[in-house]
């Protein structure tokens, strides 16, 4: 009788052990390899240095650090830099230094050769490699081709508080609380007033790199996070949430490279909204502004942040698992992620740090 009684228990134990083993191998997440940072080089960019012919110009990339701009090779052996009279707009293929009250803009190649001139008032800037000009009253944007030809101009209903662009869309947040989106021909595709707050204002806006969604932080008393998603050609509100914050200043909003997560500044840190699960997490980082770069091969995001007296890089696995943090002194800051390297500029020093798995 005893033998008969013990048989089901043994079977049960065996099944539990098997299930545990199965869970251990199938469900457990592999441990993340340790990421190590290796400083490679650092260079001073505070002095003017004329452009030199690079062995392979395609390898050189441009930088913009404070009021200085220039280009550097990945190995740091060739650096040229210049100081802008007032400021500069910089992309990988063009430099547009400009004066405070500029009426004519001259564009240069990374090799320092003149590219074209634009006769128009305003300040230039790049978004997603596209060249735009912001009007002096900050209520109108023009786009120019890489050859300097005017493509379109769009007068927005009121002054712009934030602007983002992808390959074929551009979105502007306005002081009256509205969000306006135009296509690559400068034609309106969205004019939307979120409402729902006592004071209407758009504090920050961002476009999903895949052009499927627009996110914004808007309003005051109460402030809201809003996500618009494109359905059947039109953008419609998919999600919104009232926030505890009461900002009356710019608020950074950014999508990750794959468009799945939206990050936006909050009082307690940076909120990370997961579009797939609808859940929100928090990166415990007090940043006034930030930019994102994706490392798709490792499934990591690099968040380059700026705070009152400091800045730095935070590497995290979305939604909010911090892998490492690398502080930088405040002041002028420039950051870029390429392959397995971070290029960081702070003050007048530019440097490269490689990231490896150990």
């Amino acid at each position: 009788m005893r033998d008969v009684d013990e048989r089901p228990n043994r079977l049960l134990y065996a099944l539990i052990a098997l299930a545990f083993l199965g869970y251990f191998f199938a469900a457990a997440e592999p441990l993340q390899k340790e990421l190590a940072l290796h400083p490679v080089w650092a260079g001073d960019v505070s002095r003017d240095a004329d452009p030199e012919p690079s062995p392979d110009p395609a390898l050189a990339f441009s930088f913009h650090l404070g009021g200085r701009y220039g280009a550097v090779t990945p190995d740091g052996t060739r650096i040229w830099s210049r100081g802008a009279a007032f400021d500069a707009a910089v992309s990988d293929s063009l430099f547009l230094p400009y004066e405070r009250e500029s009426k004519v803009l001259s564009a240069f190649t990374p090799g320092g050769d003149p590219a074209f001139r634009i006769q128009a008032e305003g300040w230039p800037f790049f978004r997603s490699g596209r060249l735009f000009l912001m009007s002096p009253e900050m209520d109108s944007v023009s786009e120019y081709s890489p050859e300097g030809k005017l493509l379109w101009s769009y007068d927005f209903p009121f002054k712009i508080t934030d602007f983002d662009a992808t390959e074929s869309l551009a979105v502007a947040g306005l002081l009256d609380g509205s969000i306006e989106c135009v296509d690559a021909d400068g034609k309106s595709v969205l004019s939307f007033a979120p409402g729902g707050s006592r004071i209407e204002v758009t504090l920050g806006v961002a476009l999903d790199p895949r052009e499927e969604a627009i996110a914004a932080v808007c309003g005051a008393d109460r402030q809201r996070f809003i996500l618009l998603v494109r359905k059947g050609g039109a953008f419609k509100v998919q999600y919104h949430r009232y926030l505890d914050s009461d900002y009356r200043e710019p608020v950074t909003v950014r999508f990750t490279g794959d468009g799945r997560y939206v990050l936006y500044r909050q009082s307690e840190g940076i909120a990370v909204y997961d579009r797939q699960t609808g859940r929100e997490s928090l990166l415990p980082l007090r940043a006034e502004s930030f930019e994102l770069a994706s490392d798709a091969s490792r499934g990591l995001e690099y968040l380059f942040f700026r705070a009152a007296r400091t800045g730095g890089v935070v590497c995290f696995e979305p939604p909010a698992r911090v892998i490492f943090s690398y502080p930088l002194p405040g002041g002028a800051l420039w950051t870029r992620h390429a392959d397995r390297s971070l290029y960081l500029g702070s003050g007048a020093v530019l440097g490269r740090i490689d990231i490896s798995e150990e």
Partner: protein
């Protein structure tokens, strides 16, 4: 009906609703002098704001409101250039928004939210897209989504000088004929162009816009432009109410303005221009032509 009465009626019609919520307004700078007025020609565009001196003046709220947005710098945290420089936006009752821009760095209030009329919002300075140190001031009606001419609502500036009409021209087929010097033209359609400025002093060469322009052809009103409001529609800033003009159709590159195209039929034709400024000073000019 005198020009001052007409101005008042026009202003009330255009601005009655938002003005009611604001009550009596103060100038954003004490002893304010408009440098560029609403509708001035600025680099080919209609200026929807007012630039006001004196340079470096303390900037005050025109009425009670609440700060909805402020920024202190020439580049937004997102890297976006900020040609307004340091600026403060005040949200007023009834959907009015006033914007005080090109404020000197560090002069903006950091913790102020609710604002009373006359509260200091900063100091005009070297900031944003201007080398001058004057305030850039904008008034906007959020309900109608249109810019308003601030001088219609602000207390009038002392101004005894009538606007200047430096020339009226007829243009057709690439030919530009100055009215007054031209005695006769052929029958046809002509564009009437005017060179108008509103100086505050004899040596004043600022390209200030007037407040209203009336064009009379043979004694009948052919066009009337009231510088009261402007509104962006489909990506283009339009102004003068139902005329819905835009900068391209209104301004020539040199700042002269196009008053419209008119068919001049055979006979004797008189063309008159009546221009008034914000203080109600009026200038009338014109001439007669023989149309063959």
């Amino acid at each position: 009906m005198g020009p001052k009465v007409r101005r008042l009626i026009g202003s009330l019609l255009a601005l009655a609703i938002p003005a009611a919520g604001l009550g009596s307004l103060e100038w954003p700078v004490a002893g304010g002098v408009p440098v560029l007025t609403f509708g001035s020609h600025e680099s080919g565009r209609f200026h929807p704001s007012m630039t006001a001196g004196p340079e470096g003046a303390q900037v005050r709220a025109i009425g009670a409101g609440e700060i909805s947005f402020s920024f202190d710098g020439d580049r937004l945290p997102s890297g976006l250039p900020c040609p307004l420089g340091g600026f403060v936006a005040l949200s007023h009752p009834d959907g009015m928004i006033s914007v005080y821009a090109r404020l000197e760095r560090g002069s903006l209030p950091r913790y102020l939210r609710a604002v009373s009329s006359g509260d200091i919002l900063g100091r005009a300075g070297l900031s944003g897209f201007r080398t001058g140190r004057e305030l850039s001031f904008t008034l906007y009606d959020r309900i109608k989504r249109q810019y308003l001419n601030p001088q219609v609502l602000l207390p009038p500036v002392r101004d005894d000088r009538a606007p200047l009409v430096r020339g009226v021209y007829l243009s057709s087929g690439g030919k530009v004929l100055p009215l007054g010097e031209t005695r006769s033209v052929r029958q046809g359609t002509y564009e009437i162009i005017a060179d108008i400025q509103d100086p505050l002093a004899a040596s004043d060469a600022r390209p200030r816009a007037p407040y209203s322009i009336r064009l009379l052809v043979d004694g009948k009103e052919a066009a009337r432009y009231l510088y009261d409001a402007a509104r962006a529609e489909s990506g283009r800033l339009r102004f003068f109410g139902s005329a819905r003009l835009d900068s391209r159709s209104y301004f020539l590159p040199d700042g002269r303005i196009r008053l419209g195209s008119f068919l001049l039929a055979r006979g004797r034709t008189t063309i008159a221009l009546i221009v008034s400024d914000h203080a109600g000073n009026e200038r009338e000019t014109g001439g007669a032509l023989q149309v063959d």
